[in-house]
Amino acid sequence: MDHASPMTRWLKGLALTLVVIFFMFPILWIVLMSFQTNETILRMPPSVVFTPTLENYQALITGKLVSSAGVLEIQFMRNLMNSVILSVCSVALSLLLGVPAAYAFARHKFRGSEDIAFTLLSFRFAPPLLVLLPLALYFQDLGLANTYIGLIWVYQLICLPLILWIVRGYFEDISPDVEHAYRLAGHSWFSTFRRIALPLAGPGIAAAGLLAFIFAWNNFVFALVLASADKQPVTVGALAFVTASGIQYGQIAAGIVLSIAPTLALALYAQRYLVEGLSLGAVKG
């Protein structure tokens, strides 16, 4: 890297800048929009010069959407809370079930293990709409419709295969002999799993968990069909911004900023793990 000529370095810098602008501009634009009123957003020609206002955020947080047609009640904060509950619980449950399962699939080849693992992966192939309608009927009968438990259960379709398959790869990358060495030193397989396998696969588990969290957070159809207003996550709740009196761009922008904030913060915080996780192969002993 240090041997690159100044020209190469300059070009590399330019390419990086372009990439950053390309990916960051929409986020920047949304943030700017969220501090504007609908009028300033829609004016022609567009301008970045405006007097910032907090009324969009205020409307979201108080739950009162003031439009030309009157005051509309929205439950954005509640939706946000639902998103947090659903995503966090789903990922937690998936990790609890998926990580030991991934370890088992990675370490113990038993008859049909590949088939079971593949079946779990195939949940990701099926179009969600295909299973949703029958599922909705079952959920009605079972009393699971419109409950957190029911939704978290369905969200396993998203999180579990993802975590299982990513984490399995990380476990497979750890030399079994590292664990063998630990077991020979007088430890049970469970303490080997806890003390050796888990920490070594840690970055991978973090990366898989994060990815699963983002997928769960972004999910739309499951919640649309299976949840009513009080259990809806932001993705579905955002529909409320399309009102009779027009689309509330300012509030939508503010809503987006609030709803991407957790995932963005998490990604930034866990960046180190993601990078570490992706480069695990290069440094493992």
């Binding site: 002999d177 590292v178 063998h180 060495a181 020979l184 030193a185 007088g186 049970s188 397989w189 002993g285």
Partner: protein
């Protein structure tokens, strides 16, 4: 007399037992290792030596037979409860720990006093020449250093059995030679029992009291290095042990008066007077008819009056000449300690003393005689 440190009783490892073609990676291997003994499992890759070692450690289930450590059958005992230490071929150091912590790990788990741990780590580090890297992490040191750290982690323990899987494969030759001596001394001094797996016969000869030669999952011979060399049990061991490998010729034996005539290819015949072979051995050889003759390259004598051969190549290796010659329709290799002035095409005569002849059954390869005496 206490129980042997390790006893294998007709141990087999079968992979895919329910598959159409089960693979017997280890086939009914029986051997017994006395306490304080160093034993090498020697063989080419895929011969079952590592599978055997892993069954002893407990990472492979035993398909048939029994493994006993210090008199206790351990077939169903967890690796943690076998009191066995192992150095892995792939090093398998714990990446988040330094070399020092890796080596001290088992002792710390056993809650030994801190001073004793420090003293023993220092001793092992000195032995293996890894003092400068004790505080480095496994990812930042070379393969050879990791291997020594892994070896240290195994040797520091006071286990019933030390299993060493290719313990020195990654080391430079000079260091390897030095460490062989030191490790042997260390193991012997402490009365440890070690089983090492290697494909390097020099290493096996240098370290082991006895060597178990394996091929195709079958134990071919289990004997001291000297015996393996002088009295190979079969053709495989005969040709496997020794560098350069033993010369082998098919021969037809018949009586020529009192003498034993061994007819090789292309009309070459070797006559041996009755005194060269014990009468019973001579009988057996004559009864078999078709035998395989083995002569170690070091034992081939150059003698103008001997059987004719033609030099095909002559290599000077710095301390010895390896001369390859076409002889009786095959190739013969001989080692001379002087720089032989022979060129390809030169005609020479060769002679094999009865004392240097190994005779194997032409069909089964089982040894019939060594140096004229019964095998």
């Amino acid at each position: 007399m206490s129980a042997p440190a390790l006893e294998l009783d007709r141990v087999s490892k079968i992979y895919g037992a329910k598959a159409a073609r089960p693979v017997r990676a280890v086939d009914a291997v029986s051997m017994s290792v006395a306490k304080g003994e160093i034993v090498a499992l020697l063989g080419s890759s895929g011969c079952g030596k590592t599978s055997t070692l892993r069954m002893v450690a407990g990472f492979e289930t035993v398909s048939e037979g029994a493994v006993r450590i210090a008199g206790r059958e351990v077939n169903r005992v967890a690796p943690a409860k076998r009191n066995v230490a192992m150095a892995f071929e792939g090093y398998s150091l714990y990446p988040p720990l330094t070399v020092r912590e890796n080596i001290a790990f088992a002792l710390k788990s056993a809650r030994l006093p801190r001073e004793e741990v420090a003293r023993r780590v220092a001793e092992i580090a000195h032995l293996l020449e890894i003092e400068p890297i004790l505080d480095r992490y496994p990812a930042s040191i070379s393969g050879g250093q990791q291997q020594r750290a892994s070896l240290g982690r195994a040797l520091i323990r006071e286990a019933d059995l030390h299993l060493l899987d290719e313990p020195m494969g990654q080391l430079e030759p000079a260091l390897r030679a030095l460490l062989r001596g030191r490790i042997k001394h260390f193991v012997k001094e402490r009365g440890l029992t070690a089983v090492l797996v290697t494909h390097d016969q020099t290493e096996a000869n240098a370290l082991a009291d006895r060597i178990a030669v394996m091929e195709g999952g079958v134990l071919q011979q289990f004997a001291s290095p000297a015996e393996l060399k002088d009295r190979p049990a079969n053709l495989f061991t005969g040709t496997f042990i020794g560098e350069p490998p033993m010369n082998v010729f098919q021969a037809q034996a018949r009586a020529e008066g009192d003498a034993l005539r061994l007819g090789l290819g292309e009309g070459v015949a070797l006559d041996y007077p009755a005194a060269g072979f014990e009468p019973a051995v001579r009988e057996t050889i004559l009864k078999r008819g078709r035998v395989t003759l083995g002569v170690r390259p070091h034992a081939v004598r150059l003698d103008p009056a001997g059987a004719p051969a033609e030099v095909a190549a002559n290599q000077w290796l710095g301390d010895q000449s390896h001369i390859a010659a076409s002889f009786a329709g095959g190739t013969l290799v001989t080692v001379e300690h002087d720089r032989a002035r022979l060129r390809p095409g030169d005609r020479i005569g060769v002679r094999f003393e009865p004392a240097d002849l190994h005779v194997f059954d032409g069909e089964t390869g089982a040894a019939l005689s060594h140096g004229g005496r019964a095998a």
